[in-house]
């Protein structure tokens, strides 16, 4: 019987590309309905881990369980059925550059739902309004700013009302105001739809306020996975060092004064 409190379970994942071992035994459980942030320095395999969850990469060893099903063993219709429960916002957004914003958002509905064209139009128009993209419907991705592209990507990812939403560096390349807007939008939709979200980010400390759990990936392993408050109180030297390095001395002094 799969444990129903976890939407995703990564068990002893190993992955190498040629001689380079990227993941060396990753174990991570992602709680249903919660926001889990995977952080770590660049080149630690965060995006590779996300692609394992999506079934785009097969691990050399280990198992990836999504909703109790081993995604790499699924084929055809059952894999498609599982994937319709995913929404993904890629690092580069991956919008279809030969399609307008409207068509990009409408694509999952036209291809994966039985909605009629007027129903699709209605739903897409609502999304455009919600994402504050009204007036950009007929533009092409190349004509949009970075923040607008992210919002289009988020709108597209939400069209099929997914149970699990995966974000790969959602605020990379955005200024602090736009990053804030993207996070606000993301949490507003999560509150409404209640999806499980996995965010790969190094947008620390901003992400600390928004995450339920933070997993730190280092040298191909998850070195810590806990709530932000626990992480801040942790006495593990690695975690302390990581927190101090990414959050600076200001955090260190508050930590020390707390512990005194």
């Amino acid at each position: 019987m799969p444990d129903s409190s976890f939407a995703i379970r990564l068990i002893d994942i190993h992955k190498s590309f040629g001689a380079q071992a990227v993941l060396r035994g990753v174990d991570l459980d992602i709680e249903r309905g919660a926001t889990t942030v995977i952080c770590g320095e660049s080149g630690q395999g965060k995006s590779v881990l996300l692609k394992h969850i999506l079934g785009l990469i097969t691990p050399d060893r280990g198992r990836v369980l999504v909703e109790g099903q081993e995604i790499n063993r699924l084929r055809g219709a059952s894999l498609n059925q599982l994937r319709t429960r995913f929404g993904v916002l890629f690092q580069g957004v991956a919008l279809f550059d030969s399609m307008t914003v409207f068509d990009n958002i409408a694509l999952p509905l036209r291809e994966r739902s039985r909605l009629s064209e007027p129903e699709v139009n209605d739903k897409v128009e609502k999304s455009l309004q919600m994402m504050d993209l009204w007036g950009s419907a007929e533009k092409f991705p190349g004509q949009l700013s970075g923040g607008m592209k992210k919002r289009v990507g988020l709108a597209r990812a939400l069209q099929l009302e997914p149970d699990i939403l995966l974000f790969d560096e959602p605020t990379t390349g955005l200024d602090p105001v736009k990053s804030h807007d993207v996070y606000q939008l993301f949490f507003a939709t999560q509150k409404r739809l209640g999806y499980t979200s996995v965010i790969v980010s190094h947008d620390i400390p901003k992400i600390f306020n928004l995450a339920d759990k933070i997993a730190i990936l280092h040298e191909g392993q998850v070195r810590a996975c806990m709530a932000p408050a626990e992480l801040q109180r942790s006495r593990d030297p690695f975690v302390r060092d990581f927190i101090i390095r990414v959050m600076g001395r200001a955090y260190q002094s508050s930590y020390e004064s707390d512990s005194d």
Binding site: N80, T84, V88, F90, A94, F96, P108
Partner: protein
């Protein structure tokens, strides 16, 4: 008394390295062939997967068919004209300029029409097809389709294959007709040959088997060029030439070269079977 040989294994290092490279090359080629064959199987399967939509096929017909129409008309006209010119002077030497129509029509229908149409479409559309899919791959658009549970073979490649199979035989027919008229313009209008003889010799010599061969070649070439060009772009990340803009540019060059050579090889094979 024992034999006392000292084996210096360093002498064999070069040999082992050579064998290793050979093995790696062989495995790489096998992998590449397998991937290519699977790509074709998945694409053909994609044609029969629902939802069936006509619009993507029509859009591709517009790109491959209508987009190449003018190029094919120009190429067909000038190839027909040069055949008319060369044929007229060569046949005149033997007093058989009345056979010009037959010479032009048979050259076009049996060989030049299907081959040159395919080569022009490779240059114009095959390269674009490869670059488009390659860019989609490196910018994660194909991964995004996978994640949305939209089969990329059905959505991206199958319409291209169907459009190619429909458009290229029609473009070949256009090439032939325009070429025959090009030959007529030079042989009859410009060089004052006999127009009646031109048409009569053409009608007398062109048989159903010639048209059949032309059609079979056009369909096979369409199949080959879409398969090779689309596969090169679709799996640009799986090749040794790397990821990114350079990878796409090298994939496009390779797609044009490999598909052009394949068309010429297939032309010989089909001709040898059908003659």
């Amino acid at each position: 008394m024992g034999l006392n040989y000292k084996v210096d294994y360093r002498e064999f290092e070069a040999l082992f390295e050579g064998l290793q490279k050979l093995g790696s090359l062989g495995l790489g080629s096998l992998e590449s062939m397998g991937r290519s064959a699977l790509f074709l199987c998945f694409t053909i399967r994609g044609i029969f997967l629902p939802p069936f939509k006509l619009q993507p096929v029509l859009r591709q017909i517009k790109v491959i068919g209508s987009g190449s129409f003018l190029v094919i008309v120009f190429t067909g006209a000038f190839v027909g004209m040069v055949l008319g010119l060369q044929g007229y002077y060569t046949l005149s030497k033997y007093g058989s300029s009345s056979a010009l129509g037959a010479a032009v029509a048979l050259s076009l229908i049996r060989e030049l029409g299907p081959v040159l149409t395919a080569l022009m479409v490779i240059g114009r559309t095959g390269s674009a097809m490869c670059a488009e899919l390659g860019i989609m791959r490196i910018s994660e658009q194909i991964d995004a389709l996978d994640c949305m549970a939209i089969n990329p073979y059905r959505y991206l490649v199958a319409p291209k294959l169907l459009a190619g199979l429909l458009s290229i035989p029609l473009l070949t027919a256009v090439f032939n007709v325009v070429g025959v008229f090009g030959g007529y313009m030079v042989g009859v209008v410009l060089l004052h040959g006999n127009g009646g003889a031109y048409m009569a010799s053409m009608r007398a010599s062109v048989a159903a088997i010639d048209l059949k061969m032309c059609f079979v070649k056009a369909v096979c070439f369409a199949f080959l060029l879409v398969w090779i060009c689309a596969e090169h772009g679709f799996w640009v990340n799986r090749r040794s030439w790397g990821f990114g803009a350079e990878g796409v540019s090298r994939a496009t060059t390779s797609a044009v070269v490999v598909s052009s050579v394949s068309v010429l090889v297939a032309d010989y094979v089909i001709t040898s079977f059908m003659l």
